[in-house]
């Protein structure tokens, strides 16, 4: 048992050190990542300027229930949830190691591949938060005026943090599953691309899901049946107080079920895949 913990700890430390090498690049890169948010602030301002000047009061200066501040705050919060749920390079990495035969090393070592990747990912993310904390704090401090409701209640805060942790696991296991498809199909790049596209549109990364049209196809209802919304929208909506207490906890429970589903799916795919794996390549 102790030896096992030690193994994982070593994997963790290696990954941490790997990441710390590029910390300067990292911090600048994080700040740059807010540039699109900056232009969005101007874009939405121009849109809300039109809406608030309109004579009909039915909209009350809101778009789908979002005031101007809420909209900007939403985009800012999405940068946080995406920092947890996005897994750059995971699907392609798994696919590559299967295609090149590198995956063999996990078949002969007493180390579980998915577990190993998870530990590495946790390490990378922790290093990222550690370094990105400074630029994030700076940007959120400058933008504090957009959070019209101030800090959320303790209950919302709790659900928010739990949902962030779950969104990390959800993002991780979805991408693992996509990568493991490589056991059956050699090329999964296009699958990964489709996932990225759907994710961008239907997770709430691009805009709050309330904006989705209900006709001709009721996309608004469809996203509730998909796991994608937990990768961006859900946590942001919780933080901004968009959901009632009951909706929050139910959403969290559904998210947990999705995580469980993808963990089981990944395990199942791994065991099936290894059985049909023919270990070509050096």
């Amino acid at each position: 048992m102790l030896a096992k913990v030690q193994t994982w700890w070593t994997f963790f430390l290696i990954a941490v050190n790997e990441r710390l090498v590029y910390r300067g690049d990292f911090m600048l890169g994080t700040l740059m990542r807010f540039l699109p948010t900056l232009t969005q602030i101007f874009l939405w301002w121009a849109i809300y300027d039109v809406i608030s000047s309109r004579p009909d009061e039915s909209l009350d200066g809101k778009i789908a229930g979002y005031r101007y501040g809420d909209m900007v705050a939403y985009y800012l919060m999405v940068t946080i949830t995406r920092a947890f749920s996005s897994m750059p390079g995971l699907t392609s990495g798994v696919a590559r190691s299967i295609r090149s035969g590198e995956v063999k090393k996990f078949l002969i070592q007493p180390v579980d591949m998915i577990g190993c990747l998870l530990v590495q990912r946790v390490a990378h993310k922790l290093v990222y938060y550690f370094i990105a904390a400074l630029p994030f704090t700076l940007v959120f401090f400058l933008c504090r005026g957009f959070f019209l409701n101030g800090w959320p209640a303790p209950e919302e805060m709790l659900v928010f943090f739990l949902s962030l942790l779950l969104s990390f696991l959800l993002g991780f296991f979805i991408e693992i599953c996509l990568g493991l498809v490589s056991f059956w199909f050699l090329e999964v790049a296009s699958l990964g691309f489709i996932y990225m596209l759907l994710n961008f549109l239907l997770s709430g990364h691009m805009f709050p899901l309330e904006l989705l049209p209900e006709s001709p196809v009721n996309l608004r209802a469809a996203v509730d049946w998909l796991p994608l919304k937990y990768l961006a929208y859900f946590s942001a909506a919780v933080f901004l107080g968009k959901l009632s207490s009951e909706e929050m906890w139910r959403g969290l429970a559904i998210e947990a079920v999705w995580v469980l589903f993808f963990i089981v799916l990944a395990r199942w795919m791994w065991s099936r895949g290894v059985r049909r794996y023919s270990a070509y390549g050096g």
């Binding site: 740059m32 101007f42 121009a46 849109i47 296009s190 805009f207």
Partner: protein, 294 residues
């Protein structure tokens, strides 16, 4: 390098033939992987379609972007189409080459470029043509055509549309491409000093980020004006998209206002100046090139 390659004079090289050979070779290469080519076309177009959908949704809630700016739905889609055309031209002809430029520097292969009896800027800028990216431009032209037709059939809008507007549009597209080309060339050249420039595509993303929307959205607040000034006069990317789009969409009506004429004049000037400036940066950077490895 004691002498810049320019001074030795490569006038005899037929640049048109060189560039068209590059383009033809790339097309042959692309056509040998046809399925991949089609997938790339689809993937680049799907990002554009997503962008289109975002604004389709936005226009369900508002009838214009910015109060009294005239950027109604059809006007804005002319704008969006214009951006797709410019983006696709840059990505078809230059992006991949600039990306490979930093590799040339890192591996020392730039030596071979400098040895050839032809202007190194041409040899760095044109060798690969990424034809699949042109799909987006086609999509952009279709969107522009459709939106202009909608504007023309609207009796409330007095759109002026003639051979002259089309020619002016094309001219300003060329200017726009020239500006974007220069910005990317200058950025890519810095990798000679910095040793590496892995983030060229990131830079492209961040810079295009500022020209994606009509410039009116910046013209309301102090910080907005500061951004507007920076991206008009320091890095002139705002005129790249705004001028050609205004030529066709005429959001503030015709005839053009005085400031639109001056900005259009400035766009021409900016294109020439940025070409010259980027050429200067490129040659300056080459002088500091100290080969590598072997």
């Amino acid at each position: 390098m004691s002498e810049t390659p320019m001074q030795t004079g490569y006038r005899r090289a037929n640049y048109f033939r060189v560039i068209s050979t590059f383009c033809r070779n790339s097309l042959i290469r692309d056509m040998s992987f046809r399925a991949d080519f089609i997938l790339q076309c689809i993937s680049s177009m799907s990002w554009a379609v997503m962008n289109f959908m975002l604004f389709k949704i936005i226009y369900r809630f508002t009838d214009s972007i910015g109060r009294d700016t005239g950027w109604g739905e059809h006007e804005f889609f002319v704008f969006l189409g214009t951006i797709w055309v410019i983006n696709s031209l840059i990505q078809t002809f230059f992006m991949q080459n600039f990306d490979e430029f930093s590799d040339l520097i890192r591996t020392g292969s730039l030596d071979f470029v400098l040895l050839k009896p032809i202007d190194p800027q041409v040899l760095v800028s044109f060798p690969r043509t990424n034809w699949s990216q042109l799909a987006n431009g086609g999509l952009g032209l279709a969107l522009i055509g459709y939106s202009v037709a909608q504007l023309l059939s609207d009796p409330d809008k007095h759109l002026q549309f003639s051979v002259f507007t089309v020619l002016a549009f094309l001219l300003f597209i060329v200017c726009g491409v020239a500006v974007m080309y220069s910005v990317m060339l200058a950025l890519a050249s810095t990798s000679i000093w910095l040793g590496r420039n892995q983030n060229l595509y990131d830079f492209w993303f961040y810079i295009t980020n500022f020209y994606r929307y009509p410039m009116e959205i910046y013209q309301r607040s102090g910080m907005g004006w500061a951004l507007w000034g920076t991206f008009t006069f320091v890095i002139p990317v705002l005129v790249v998209s705004n001028i050609p789009a205004r030529v066709l969409a005429q959001p503030s009506g015709t005839p053009w206002r005085w400031w639109e004429w001056s900005l259009a004049g400035y766009a021409l000037l900016a294109a020439v100046l940025s070409l010259l400036a980027s050429r200067w940066v490129f040659l300056k950077a080459l002088k500091s090139y100290r080969s590598a490895s072997s």
